[in-house]
C-alpha cells in the first residue's frame, strides 16, 4: 500500500498526475472487498474527524462519503447548510474558520460556486475534498467512473468514450474529460449546440451537436442528466424534444460497440436522457458506479488522512 498522496487536498482532477490517479484507483480496488464483509469495519481512520459540508442537495455523494468514513471507523459529521447558520448569512470564510476551530481532519465540500473548495483549502489545516463545485469539477465522480470502466475493460488507454448532455453546466463532464484524457482515452462530447461550451475542442475532445456520431463505435457512453435547476432558460425548448434528439434508447445504442458500457452519474431522468430499458439493461453500470463510489471515497480518505502505510485491517 502506498504512503498516501503527497498533497493536502483533492480539489480537482486537473491537479492530479497520472501516477496519483493510478494510486487512487489501485487503492480503491483493494478496498472494494470491505463492502462484502459481514462486519463492514476497519480501524484505519479511527479517531479521525470528517465533516461533510454540503451546500447543495445530494443522495449519492454524501451518503457515499458518510459510509466510507464510517466503515473506516472515522467520526463523520454531516452539515447540510439549509439547517445551519449559512441561512443567517454566515460567509464561507467564517464557516471554514469555525470548523477549523473544531479541528477536523477532513472536510468534504459541495458548493454551487466554482472555486469554493480552493477557498476552504487555503483556510483549513484539514484536508479538503471537492465533492462538486459549481460547474467546475467533481473529481471523485470522475475517479469512480474510471474505476468502473477499468474494472470491466482492464485498461483505459485507447478506449473511446462519449459524454452526452448539458456539457455547459456539468462538473461531471469536465472532470470526466480531464480524467479520461489523462489516462489516454479518446473523448467525444455531444449535446445541443446551446449546451456545448465554446472552445471545447481546445481540450482535445471531438465535439458533436448530434448524438449519433458521438456514440458510433463507442466503448463507453456517459449520459448526463438534463439539469433543470442549472438552466437559465432558452437552452432547449422541451424535455420531449431533448429526449427525441439526445435520449439514449436501445435503438440508438446499436451504433455503439457490442459490449458498450453505459454510465450515468445519477440521478437519472428515466425516459428523458436515458430510457428505462437502457438504464436497467445489461450494458448499464450505473449501480456499479455507486458501489465504486464508496470504494473511491474510502481510498481518498485513507490516502489523504490515513497516516502511515500498512494493512487496512
Amino acid at each position: 500500500m502506498g504512503t498516501g498522496l503527497k498533497r493536502k487536498d483533492l480539489l480537482g482532477i486537473q491537479d492530479l498526475s497520472v501516477e496519483e490517479v493510478g494510486l487512487i484507483l489501485d487503492t480503491a480496488a483493494s478496498m472494494r472487498e470491505i463492502a462484502s464483509r459481514d462486519i463492514k469495519k476497519v480501524p484505519t481512520l479511527r479517531g479521525k474527524t470528517i465533516i461533510n459540508l454540503f451546500y447543495e442537495p445530494s443522495t449519492r455523494t454524501r451518503t457515499s462519503f458518510e459510509i466510507a468514513g464510517k466503515w473506516m471507523s472515522a467520526d463523520v459529521i454531516n452539515i447540510s447548510t439549509t439547517t445551519s447558520s449559512v441561512v443567517k448569512g454566515e460567509s464561507l470564510k467564517d464557516t471554514g474558520l469555525t470548523l477549523q476551530a473544531m479541528h477536523p481532519d477532513v472536510v468534504v465540500i459541495r458548493h454551487p460556486a466554482a472555486g469554493a473548495p480552493q477557498i476552504l483549502a487555503g483556510l483549513l489545516r484539514a484536508s479538503v475534498i471537492n465533492a462538486g463545485d459549481g460547474a467546475h469539477e467533481h473529481p471523485t465522480q470522475a475517479l469512480l467512473d474510471l474505476l468502473t470502466i477499468r474494472e470491466r475493460r482492464g485498461s483505459l488507454s485507447g478506449l473511446k468514450a462519449a459524454i452526452v448532455g448539458d456539457i455547459l453546466h456539468s462538473r461531471v463532464a469536465r472532470s470526466d474529460i480531464f480524467a479520461m484524457q489523462k489516462m489516454g482515452m479518446q473523448v467525444r462530447v455531444s449535446g445541443p449546440a446551446t449546451m456545448l461550451p465554446r472552445y471545447l475542442e481546445r481540450l482535445g475532445v471531438e465535439v458533436f451537436s448530434r448524438i449519433e456520431p458521438a456514440i458510433a463505435d463507442a466503448d463507453v457512453i456517459m449520459m448526463l442528466r438534463v439539469q433543470l435547476e442549472r438552466q437559465a432558460g432558452g437552452l432547449f425548448p422541451t424535455l420531449r424534444e431533448y429526449s427525441k434528439l439526445f435520449g439514449l434508447n436501445l435503438d440508438r445504442l446499436k451504433a455503439a460497440k457490442q459490449d458498450v458500457l453505459i454510465l450515468h452519474p445519477g440521478p437519472i431522468n428515466r425516459g428523458v436522457e436515458i430510457s428505462p430499458e437502457v438504464a436497467d439493461g445489461p450494458y448499464s453500470l450505473i449501480l456499479n458506479q455507486v458501489e465504486n463510489g464508496v470504494a473511491i471515497r474510502m481510498a481518498l480518505l485513507y490516502l489523504l488522512a490515513g497516516g502511515q502505510a500498512g494493512s487496512n485491517n
Binding site: 470564510k93 454551487p112 460556486a113 459549481g134 469539477e137 462538473r171 469536465r174 465554446r198
Partner: protein, 430 residues
Amino acid sequence: MRILIEGGRVIDPANNVDDILDVLIEDGRIASLGPHRAGREAPPPDRVLDARGKVVCPGFVDLHVHLREPGREDKETIASGTRAAARGGFTSVCAMPNTNPVNDNQSVTEFILDRARREGAVNVFPVGAITKGQKGEELAEIGELIRAGCVAISDDGKPVMNAEIMRRALEYAGMFGIPVIQHAEDLHMTGKGSMHEGFVSTELGIRGIPAASEAIIVARDILLAELTGSHYHVAHITTAEALRLVREAKAGGLKITCEVCPHHFALTDDAVRSFSTNTKMSPPLRSSRHVEAVKAALRDGTIDAIATDHAPHTVQEKEVEFDYAANGVVGLETAFGLAMTVLVEGEVLTLNQAIARLTCDPARIFNLPRGTLSVGADADVTILDPTREWVVDVKKFASKSRNSPFHGWKLRGEVLATIVAGKVVWELEG
C-alpha cells in the same frame, strides 16, 4: 505662492512640448515655462522642486472613478479617493453617479462638489445619472445636473438597456454638448456570468459573458449617435468587436469616443484561473485576442483615453466565492506604472503618447479645462520618474480599499509628486 520646478524634461503633448525646461507656478497657475537656467527667478520662489532627470507633465485626468461617497464611505470617501488619485499622479477625476443616493439631482451633485472643495485633494468633476435612480426608465434632470456642475452623464454600473431611452438621452444631452457615457453590456446576455466567455470559462465551468454582449450595445448606440448627432462615449471598452465598430464610426465622422482601463491591457482572462476575486470586474478581463486589439486601438488612436474605473470594495465583499464577489478593482495608484510597464516598455505607445492618453486627450474629449501646461492654465502638474522600479504594495495605498490584482507586481514608472492648483498635494518620501 511661487513654485519653481527646475531642470525637468517637460512633456506637454497638448502644446507639443518635450524639452528640458523650468516651470514657474504662481498663484496656482502656470506662470511661465522657460529654458533651464542656473540663475534664479526674482523674487526667489517659495519652493524649488529639483526635477533634473525626471519628467514633468500635466496632472493626469481620470474620466472614470468611483468615489463611493455619499453612501458607501466604508469603501472610500471623496477625501480618501482623491488622496489615492494624487498618489497616482491624477489631478482631476470624474466621479461616477452610482452613489447612494444616486447623483441624479442637483443636491447630490452639490454635496459632492462641496465635499470635494473641503476635503478633496484633487479636482472632482461629477458625472450625473442618465436616468432617475439609474433605473433606466425616465430621464434625470440633466439640465439641472449640468447647471450644478456635472460634466457628463452615465448610468455606469449598468447599461441603459432601452434603446428609446438611450436615444432620448443622447438627443437631450446634445442640447448641452455633454457626452453620454455608456457602460456597454446586454444584461440578458450577461445573465449570471462572472467572467469572459472563452476557453478559460469553459475549462473553469464559470458562466461566461460573451464579447458580443458589449459589442451589441455599442453597435446599437453608434446608430443612435448617428441619428442624434450627439457625443457618445464608451466606458471601459474591452472587445475587438466593439473597437472595430468605434473605429469605423470615427472614420465616418461620428462623435464617438472611448476609454480603456489598465487592467484590460495588463491582464487576460487567464488571470481568473487563480479564482482570485481581484480578477473579477465588469466588463471582465478578456482573452488575449481582445487584449491585443485594445493595444492596437491605443496605438492607432481609436481609444482616446486611459481611465481607471477605480472601484473600491470592502474586504468582506471580495473575500467570498468568485460568483458572489462584487465586481471591480481599484486602479488610481497603479495606472501610470502599468501604462509605463505594459504600454511604453511594451512598445505600444511612446512615453509622450501615454502621457497624452492620460492628460490632454481625456480632458479634450470631455471639454475639461485641464490636461495641459499652457501658460495661464491651472497649475496641475505631475512629476514622474519613468524609469524607477517599484513593487505594488496594497498596504501602502491611500485608498481605503485594497482590491487590486497587481499586489506584488514590479512596475517601472513612479509618480514622485503631484501638484494641484499650485499646491503640492502628494510627494513620495525620499
